[in-house]
């Protein structure tokens, strides 16, 4: 593994206290993370939690309204957007798609298409590809330009389960051979790529962050996903100190309710390592089950007082 090569002192891109405001509403606020060469960072969170916004802000497609985004000068980005539809009026073969943003040699195109397993589709029109083939073509395009930072917004959408495993294996090998940093947005709240170095759970702000635990350590998941998946997928346990109520307000671990949750409002303990400071019943430790369908606003609130906002449903 290249993890030892990860140099965190000089990140490719670093966000600190980033907030993005559109039409009078904060899409995200107080986002801090960085991506270093060779590091895989996975963003997770429910729909509308600001995953894509954060990723776009990191690469400069969206401008931050507060906070700082620092990119290494001359940073070369390879980007696979979440949604990309190519109008049928534009004739575009897979081969032509490869050189969309920069010229490439025939050898480079071949290598990228071979790596993603769609070399045989080089002359096919992109409008005729299946969902999975199109995702592979987009990934091939992004890696062919040999980026310093690869940003993949839900790269396994429309791909079946075995295809998902294969794509994650491919992303891993891209990281291992090129040493590029990877920012991955996952559509799944609980299952992430095993090679992920840092998982960041967003819900309008950074809810929690940590490292995933391998699926292979959990016999339940192993039975569900199979042994091969166990090498590639990992579980992420959420450690939250507050709950998002259905009406959009936030219940904090200390029992108080606020309209929103900012890192600065004094209710978070995000800066402290797990287990330090307030511990025990004041901290929600919620290990999601495979069928809990949780999206962070589900937890029951049992009255007020000491036990408010704390539940264990592992």
């Amino acid at each position: 593994m290249l993890q030892t090569n990860t140099d965190r002192s000089n990140p490719l891109v670093a966000l600190s206290g980033v907030g993005v405001r559109r039409q009078g509403r904060w899409l995200v606020r107080g986002v801090d993370f960085s991506i270093s060469p060779g590091e895989i960072v996975t963003l997770i969170g429910p729909n509308g939690s600001g995953k894509s916004t954060s990723a776009k802000t990191a690469i400069g497609v969206m401008k931050a309204d507060e906070g700082r985004v620092e990119r290494r000068p001359g940073l070369k980005v390879g980007y696979v957007p979440q949604k990309l539809s190519i109008d049928w009026t534009m004739p575009l073969t897979v081969e032509r798609l490869m050189t969309l943003t920069a010229p490439l040699s025939g050898r480079e195109i071949d290598a990228a298409l071979t790596a993603t397993g769609i070399r045989h589709l080089i002359r096919a029109e992109v409008q005729h590809l299946s969902g999975g083939e199109f995702q592979r073509a987009l990934l091939a395009r992004a890696i062919a330009r040999k980026p310093d930072l690869l940003v993949l917004d839900e790269p396994v959408q429309g791909v079946d389960f075995s295809g998902e495993i294969a794509l994650y294996d491919l992303i891993k090998s891209i990281r291992n051979t090129t040493g590029c940093g990877i920012l991955l947005i996952s559509h799944d709240l609980h299952v992430v790529m095993a090679e992920t170095d840092t998982v960041i759970c967003l819900n309008g702000h950074v809810c929690c962050r940590g490292t995933p635990q391998a699926v292979s350590q959990s016999p339940e998941y192993l039975r569900l996903f199979g042994a091969r998946a166990g090498q590639t997928l990992a579980l992420y346990s959420h450690h939250h100190d507050h709950t998002h109520l259905p009406d959009g307000r936030v219940l904090h671990a200390d029992g108080s309710v606020t309209d929103n949750c900012h890192p600065t409002d004094g209710h978070h303990d995000a800066g402290e390592p797990a287990g330090a400071g307030r511990a025990g019943p004041m901290r929600i430790v919620h290990v999601h089950g495979p069928d809990c369908g949780c999206s962070h606003d589900h937890r029951t609130v049992a009255g007020s007082g000491e036990n408010a906002g704390v539940s264990r449903d592992a």
Binding site: V77, Y79, L84, M90, L92, L100, A102, H120
Partner: protein, 278 residues
């Protein structure tokens, strides 16, 4: 040879078609047909202003079309009305204001039909210089901006992320549109400029395997439509603009006939054979 009005019209028309080919492809790809219409309609306001302020006609039409396109972008950003409705307002408002202004100016005699539908007889040596000079400028600019334009047509955010400045390309594209509308006005007329942009591009689509081929092909198809239309215009004494559009439509329909379909089916079959699993 250029003394003959018909040869002059042909040289001017072909020059124009070579320019509108690639530009028309972007209008089709970016779904900007109505947008092009709006810019073209604003040309009559440009004509009226040019007469009123006694400034150069081309400059006036270009400036008005450019201002209208920028105004539209600004209004779109405010997001109060749909683009569709905004285009409808701007398109007909500028046309109407232009017509009203022209009717007020009783001291000038103006060939309104010539502006609206084009006029072969009006093509002068100076017009030819302008069309070819402006056309070469437009084509060079498109070649220079080709990659950012194509990339931002596919996905502006992707282009932005990979350092291609899609906003700059978009702005340049609008100015090029304004320029082409200004120089096309005399040949095809204000009301039919968009047809010369769209129909050849749409005809070229089914014969093209790449954006580059489609751009070149729509130039050639446009040139053929101009030649056919002008011959028809001369033969039947019809206005040049509508005749060119009718010729372009004839080519479009011809391309839809079974001949074209067979070619496409053969292409599909060979693609399936190559592609393996479809």
């Amino acid at each position: 040879m250029l003394d003959d009005f018909f040869v002059r019209a042909l040289v001017a028309g072909v020059g124009l078609a070579l320019t509108t080919g690639p530009l028309g492809c972007f209008v089709v790809w970016r779904r900007m047909a109505y947008f092009g219409d709006t810019m073209a309609h604003s040309a009559l306001l440009g004509v009226a202003l040019s007469l009123l302020l006694e400034v150069n006609l081309l400059l006036s039409v270009f400036a008005v079309a450019a201002v209208i396109s920028l105004l539209l972008v600004a209004l779109q950003r405010r997001g109060s009305l749909s683009t569709d409705a905004l285009l409808g307002i701007l398109s007909h408002a500028t046309l109407a204001i232009g017509l009203v202004m022209v009717s007020f100016m009783s001291w000038v005699r103006i060939d309104l039909i010539g502006f609206l539908f084009g006029d072969i007889l009006a093509v002068t040596r100076a017009d030819i210089d302008l069309i070819w000079g402006g056309g070469i400028l437009v084509v060079l600019a498109i070649v220079y901006l080709w990659r950012p334009l194509i990339a931002s047509t596919v996905n502006p955010e992707l282009a932005e992320a990979e350092g291609l400045q899609p906003e700059r390309a978009r702005l340049a594209f609008m100015l090029l549109m304004a320029l082409v509308i200004a120089i096309a006005m005399k040949i095809v007329g204000i009301l039919l400029i968009t047809a010369l942009l769209i129909i050849p591009a749409a005809t070229a689509r089914r014969f093209s395997r790449s954006p580059e081929v489609m751009a070149v092909l729509s130039s050639l198809i446009g040139a053929a439509a101009v030649a056919g239309g002008l011959f028809g215009s001369l033969r039947f004494d019809t206005p040049s603009g509508p005749s060119i559009v009718v010729a372009a439509l004839a080519l479009f329909i011809l391309a839809l006939l079974p001949l074209g379909r067979r070619a496409e089916r053969a292409e599909d079959a060979s693609q399936a054979a190559q592609g393996g699993h479809h």
